[in-house]
Symmetry: C2
Subunit: 146 residues, 2 copies
C-alpha cells in the first residue's frame, strides 16, 4: 500500500505558515478596517508612505508586494478620502508621486502605536524570549528567499 500518499497537511510548513499569516493579518485587518475603513492594500500604501514620502507607484510596487493595479486603485481611494496626494513628477512625467496629507499623517500617528502594540501582544504570546527568536528567524527566512 502506498504509504507515501498519506500526507499530513497540518504538519506541512508552507500550510502552517499560510494559516498563521492569514490569522494574524485578519486580526490586524479587523482593527484598521473597523477603525479607519482601510483595506489591506490601503493600509500598506499609507504605512509605506509614512516612512518614505514622495513615492511613485512603481516604488511602492517594488517594496510592498502588491500588484500595480491594486496599488493604483488603493491610491485612488486614499486620495478620494483626503489621506494622500498624488502629483505628476516634474522629473519624469510618467511617474506619480504620492505623499501623505496632514490628515493621512494624523491617521498614521494614530495607527502606528496601535500597530506596535498589536505586534508586541503577538510576540508576548510566545514563551520567554521565543518571540524575538521567532521574528529573527522570519527575517532570516525572508533574506534567504529573496
Amino acid at each position: 500500500m502506498s504509504q507515501s500518499a498519506n500526507f499530513e497537511l497540518d504538519a506541512f510548513l508552507p500550510y502552517q505558515l499560510a494559516i498563521l499569516s492569514s490569522r494574524v493579518s485578519a486580526e490586524f485587518a479587523e482593527i484598521y478596517g473597523r477603525r479607519f475603513g482601510l483595506s489591506l492594500a490601503e493600509w500598506r500604501v499609507v504605512a509605506h508612505l509614512s516612512a518614505a514620502d514622495k513615492v511613485s507607484t512603481r516604488e511602492v510596487f517594488a517594496r510592498v508586494d502588491l500588484d500595480k493595479a491594486k496599488i493604483s486603485r488603493a491610491a485612488q481611494r486614499l486620495e478620494a478620502n483626503g489621506l494622500i496626494e498624488k502629483r505628476q513628477s516634474a522629473v519624469d512625467r510618467r511617474l506619480v508621486e504620492m505623499s501623505l496629507t496632514q490628515k493621512g499623517r494624523d491617521m498614521m500617528a494614530e495607527i502606528a502605536p496601535i500597530a506596535r502594540r498589536f505586534e508586541a501582544d503577538f510576540l508576548a504570546r510566545f514563551a520567554d524570549g521565543d518571540g524575538r527568536a521567532f521574528q529573527r528567524l522570519v527575517m532570516e527566512a525572508l533574506e534567504a528567499s529573496k
Copy 2:
C-alpha cells in the same frame, strides 16, 4: 512633529509574515500548478483527504481555512477530473462525503515526496538547526492564536 507617524512597514511582523508566507506558497503552488494543474484550494482538499478519507465538506471547512464555497467548487473540479468521489452520507443526508479515487491517491503518492522535499529545501535555507527551531515556533504561534 509627530514622529510616531513614522512607521517601518518592513520591520512589522504581520507584514513580514505575510510576505514570507505568500512567497513560500507561490513557490510551492508553482509546482503543483504546473505539474498537476491544481489550484491552491484543490491542493488543500486532496492533501487533507489523503490523511483522512471519508470527509464531509464541513470537516474540510473546519480544518483547512477555506470558505465553504471554495471547497465546494474545488471539490466539483476534483470530481470532474476523477480525483475524488463525492457521495451523500447515509447517516446524515445533508452531508457530502468526499474521498480520493485511486487516481487521486496515485497523484498524492507523486506529490507527497515532492512536498516533503520542498519543505526540507526550505528548512535547509536556515543556518544550522534554525530550521527546526523555526518550525517549532510557527507551531507555537499557531497554538497560541487558536
